[in-house]
Amino acid sequence: MIFEKIFIEEQLINHPKVLEMKARFPESEFKLISKVEDVFGRVKKPYLQKRTNLNLFIGEKKGQLVKVAPPAYGLSGEPHYYFVHAYNCIYECNYCYLQGYFQSPDIVIFLNHEEIGHEIKRITFEHQKASPGKKVWFHAGEYSDSLALTHLTGELPFYFELFKNLPEAYLELRTKSVNIKELIKLSPSKNIVISFSLAPEERTKNNDLKTPGLKARLKAISELHERGHPIGLHLDPIIYDQNVVTSYSELIEQITRAIPPEALSYISIGVVRFTKNVFHQVLKNYPDSDFIHDDFVTSFDNKIRYNKPTRLWLLGKVKDLLISQGIASEKIYECMEESDVD
């Protein structure tokens, strides 16, 4: 990977990670800026320019470092938070909401992990005080892939060490990557779940552009499981086509060959959905993708979805397929909104 320009916040000029980046990307143009927001997101940079020139920003995350996760995020009944240590992704899933989120495809990485860690600790202690023994979840990968760049960003040891000392706190590293070389250097921790987003092989090829293929992801899952890392799965977004039942049936069989069903920590299932802005970006960026001209409607919360019977049928169908392959019902959670739950 080559970054055309690498923007660095001035105060980080001598940070070891910055020095490492300079050595690693000698051909990139390095530019000092006072803060990431001075350049990143100031103009609308077309999303598909990530294919030809991608810039990297290195800065410190300001504002709220850990946020309450949106509804339908993780197993219910437990508090869920997400933290942001990066923006944007090297992959190009054609349904991805990042297309319409930052107005720039450039990658941003934040280096103030200590501060993020401090906030995670504070929230965990607060929860422990209020409800001793109750799990609290922290998710990485809301705005970026949690593993794809870890060989460059190098934050995994910090978070493994942090969560080792917070046994009631759970960390989810959400990914489509098979970049597990940094991960396998670390001892597994029962409260750190590596969760992979998966889709049937044809869908992965057609929609998860520039990502590792399904077989490679299943191999990574298998390897991590054998090394003792807890594994979660996200079958999200499910996209309807006439072969959806057959293709998900095959996918679930492939999953159970890669990892025993009882070893999975959880599986989330969700149906494709977009904000209006993202939907228009997808139409603009991927007019030839097979799913975007489907019969979508503006649903109860103004998001663009399949009609209600279709999306609930899809969720029900995939859930049934998972259960029929031996996955316990209580490990499956459906990513759906309040109004879909009658």
Partner: protein, 360 residues
């Protein structure tokens, strides 16, 4: 027909000279037409305001004739990789309005790696060039406003720039003036290469235009047996694309399908035939939706058989039903009561909960 837009006469010199552009009578001076090239040429004067005003004026008056705007001219380099006399086709155009960056950008329908920033004032200071270089590779004074005008009038816009000064140079105005004809000749050569499709730039590959109907679809849309509203035209376009992308129905098959329907339903009015065609195509494109509709119809049978008109949400987002029935006798009342007793609303609820299998 193309409209070539220049800021200065010097930049346009070779174009005016080689292609025999003659002044065109217009509201202001600066518009030319070449009979030989079947192309207009506009000289706007320097700066975004003049460029925008004059481009909008010309495009508004000649909109039916002009299908592409090309801004050609000089630009300053903001990066060491672009040297004097280098030629650049522009990818994305940004703007700096003297105090801040304009958020809006315009991207040419053209593969290139060079971005251009239009500054609302002349950029002379090195510190300013350095700041602007975070956003683009070259700087000019007009492109963003020309692209903005073209975007407004929905005309495709490209830009061809020649580097007139490099990053380090500070006072370049005189140099530019004295060398204008040389720059113009370079630009003219590049433009001629482009027109002959033999440009050395590997990036000259136009993207397919989205949303333009295929010839077959155009034939269908103009068939007098059908009557498409604007929304229905959009729907037909979407269905046509979707069916093609999924490999279900190509253009010829679509035409043949419409023809068969036309013959099978000769009594339908054009409006109803269009509705029927779109519904049928939708069902082919999404058989699950057809199944859902059949299930709903089945569940509503006790009501519809009794003559109750039932309105369901066309988007299938809400399970609420609206019914109307004219009650004019005791017999009607009994009919209504019986129908309501036989009707099971739970079946509708079940369908909207995704239970649409045969074992419902």
């Amino acid at each position: 027909m193309k409209l070539l837009v220049f800021a200065h006469r010097g930049e346009a010199f070779s174009f005016l000279h080689h292609d025999q552009y003659l002044p065109e009578k217009f509201h202001f001076d600066g518009l030319f037409f070449s009979e030989e090239k079947k192309s207009y040429l506009l000289i706007t004067g320097e700066g975004p305001k003049e460029a925008c005003e004059k481009t909008v004026a010309v495009l508004s008056s000649y909109k039916d004739k002009i299908d592409q705007v090309v801004n050609i001219g000089l630009a300053g380099s903001l990066t060491p990789k672009l040297k004097k006399h280098d030629i650049a086709w522009v990818r994305t155009s940004y703007a700096h309005n003297s105090t801040k960056m304009e958020f809006k950008s315009y991207t040419a329908n053209f593969h290139s790696k060079i971005d251009c920033l239009t500054s609302f004032h002349r950029v002379m200071e090195q510190s300013e060039k350095k700041a602007l270089s975070s956003f683009a590779d070259i700087v000019d004074r007009e492109l963003w406003s020309i692209m903005s005008a073209s975007h407004l009038l929905k005309v495709d816009c490209l830009a061809l720039k020649i580097i007139s000064d490099e990053n380090e140079e500070s006072d370049f105005c005189e140099t530019v003036k004295s060398e204008a004809k040389v720059f113009s000749e370079f630009l003219y050569k590049e433009w001629t290469k482009f027109l002959n499709q033999s440009s050395p730039i590997d990036s000259i590959k136009l993207k397919p235009i989205f949303n333009s109907p295929s010839t077959s679809l155009e034939t269908l849309l103009s068939d007098s047996s059908f009557h498409f509203t604007t929304t229905q035209k959009r729907q037909a376009l979407g269905l046509n694309r979707s069916l093609k992308l999924k490999g279900i129905m190509n253009d010829d098959e679509l035409l043949s399908f419409a023809d068969t329907l036309k013959k099978a339903e000769p009594e339908l009015t054009p409006k109803n035939l269009t509705r029927k065609l779109l519904t049928s195509l939708e069902e082919i494109n999404n058989p699950l939706k057809k199944k859902i509709k059949i299930k709903i119809e089945e569940a509503l049978t006790p009501l519809t058989n009794a003559g109750i008109s039932v309105h369901t949400d066309p988007d299938l987002e809400s399970d609420r039903l609206q019914m109307s029935f004219t009650l004019s006798s005791v017999r009607d009342q009994k009919k209504l009561q019986l129908a309501m007793e036989q009707f099971q609303f739970q079946k509708i609820k079940d369908i909207f909960s995704g239970k649409i299998e045969d074992d419902l």
